[in-house]
Amino acid sequence: MSNAALGLSLLALAALAALPFLDTGFWLALAINVAQYAVLATAWAMFSGPTRYVSLATAAFFGIGAYTVAVLGEALPWPLVLLVAGVIGAVMSLLVGFATLRLSGVYFVVFTFGLAELVRQLVTWFEVNVTRSMGRYVFVEISQAQILWQLLALFGALLALGTWLARSRLGFALRVIGEDETVARHVGIDTARAKVALFALSSVFMALVGAVMAPRWTYLDPAIAFNPSISFTVLIMALLGGTRSLLGPLLGVVPLAMLFEVLTARFPNHFSILVGVVFLLVVYALPQGVSGLLARLRRGAVA
């Protein structure tokens, strides 16, 4: 993204921050929902786009962030809680990354596939056997408006990071890895380290979104925090939007967040089937996502 585009995007985010002064009901709730998925899907695409490693573990990082707030929300000042959530997310991603990212992509997919469930079981086990309390009330003084502002700030930070990355040596290394990993190694790129670094960056943002969103629930237990459908929703949004440009995922987030809002309200019992069908349509009809389609159309118009 160019400096001008980044500047415009940041301005747009700043303008959106005024929304809570206009409406505190439906539109604020919708904006929070869109903003959370915007950060999650963009963070997902930042790693999975260039490396082509499909991460199915968004829910694990989101959940660990949210649960950190449930545990520490009252004990520490809010910025410190966020810091801890980010650090835990980073540590978890480094463990997963070092175990799997030096090997072929399949190991990574398999490992992330069950990760949310694993962490949920471990947290449950810990709560039952050590703290002897299942489920916690979230008592923190964070308003809905503040949640939106934090999400917008996270999104702004993510866009700035993405812009920097595109010009940095690390970002370039990842593009080379995405093109041909063997070549990447033979031009001196430590491919495992580059992938782990990016995976950690992306995971920290996911954990932070979980932490920021936690006050929206008044009560949290592991089953709520580690809801696997988040991994799924984020994946489909990023795929629909396309992962080739920084703002690509956003093209999937906005329509799908709204669609899912409607679907949950009208077909609560068949939600999973409908979302699965939407997912399959995206995979079959738009393998490059909307932004890939747009790029193809543009190229077609030029040619």
Partner: protein, 250 residues
């Protein structure tokens, strides 16, 4: 060991007793040779004799089961490919590998950005332009690599390898599949690299190129070295002819 050093006072690369098996198949079986600085060494042998495996062992694609690889006195066997690249071992691939989604300039910058003498930004672009010029692709920096002809892909791959400022350049059948004009150009290009003092290990089937370029040859068969010396002598040896023609009761 000191005896081996004695025969060859200061080799750039010394390979000793290199061995690698895949399951029951021993692809490289006790291979030893050395390369002097500034020389072009041809690595020959019939298909399946273990040449590419030997290159893969030297460039870090594979780790040897046994044996040593010594680069300028330093043991490097088993190091991962990215470490070896940074130590100055660059290579091309038997099946040419360019980065099709990137421009020609970016392809070369990939070799510049992470290597022994890294460059980034304006400096990298300037050096990339010079390297593209060097291999005969000057002025085409902005084109995508996906539009290149086969011969030009080979040139681009060489530019990327040279971008690493290699101490040792490994060419895996870099001249294979070129048409006669391209072949002549390719041979001239490698000759000019030698004139600049570049050390090259080339696996090659094009015998004209070997005769024109190589100072010495090592011939492999069934994972071992069966002959070593100047090309004209080596190619006349009975064992070498037999290995290539797969002859009688040998």
């Amino acid at each position: 060991m000191s005896a081996a050093l004695g025969t060859d006072p200061s080799p750039l690369l010394r390979v000793e007793g290199l061995r690698r098996a895949f399951g029951g198949l021993v692809a490289v079986d006790g291979l030893s040779f050395s390369i002097r600085p500034g020389e072009i060494l041809g690595l020959l042998g019939p298909n399946g004799s273990g040449k590419t495996t030997a290159l893969n062992l030297i460039s870090g694609v594979l780790a040897p089961d046994a044996g040593r690889v010594v680069l300028e006195g330093r043991e490097v066997a088993g190091l991962p490919a990215h470490r070896l690249s940074r130590l100055g071992i660059a290579r091309t691939f038997q099946l040419v590998r360019v980065l099709p989604g990137l421009s020609l300039e970016e392809n070369v910058v990939a070799g510049l950005a992470f290597g022994r003498d890294p460059a980034w930004g304006t400096e990298a672009r300037a050096r990339a332009a010079a390297l593209l010029e060097r291999v005969g692709l000057g002025g085409r920096a902005a084109q995508p690599a996906s539009v290149l002809t086969y011969g030009d892909q080979k040139r681009l791959e060489l530019a990327r390898a040279l971008a690493l400022s290699p101490r040792l350049l490994l060419l895996d059948e870099w001249l294979a599949g070129l048409n006669p004009t391209e072949l002549r150009g390719g041979i001239d290009l490698i000759a000019s690299l030698r004139d600049e003092g570049c050390t090259v290990l080339m696996v090659e089937h094009v015998m004209d190129a070997i005769r024109a370029l190589a100072d010495r040859c090592v011939v492999m068969n069934a994972g071992r070295s069966i002959a070593e010396g100047p090309p004209a002598e080596v190619l006349a040896e009975r064992a070498v002819i037999q290995a290539y023609l797969g002859e009688d009761d040998a």
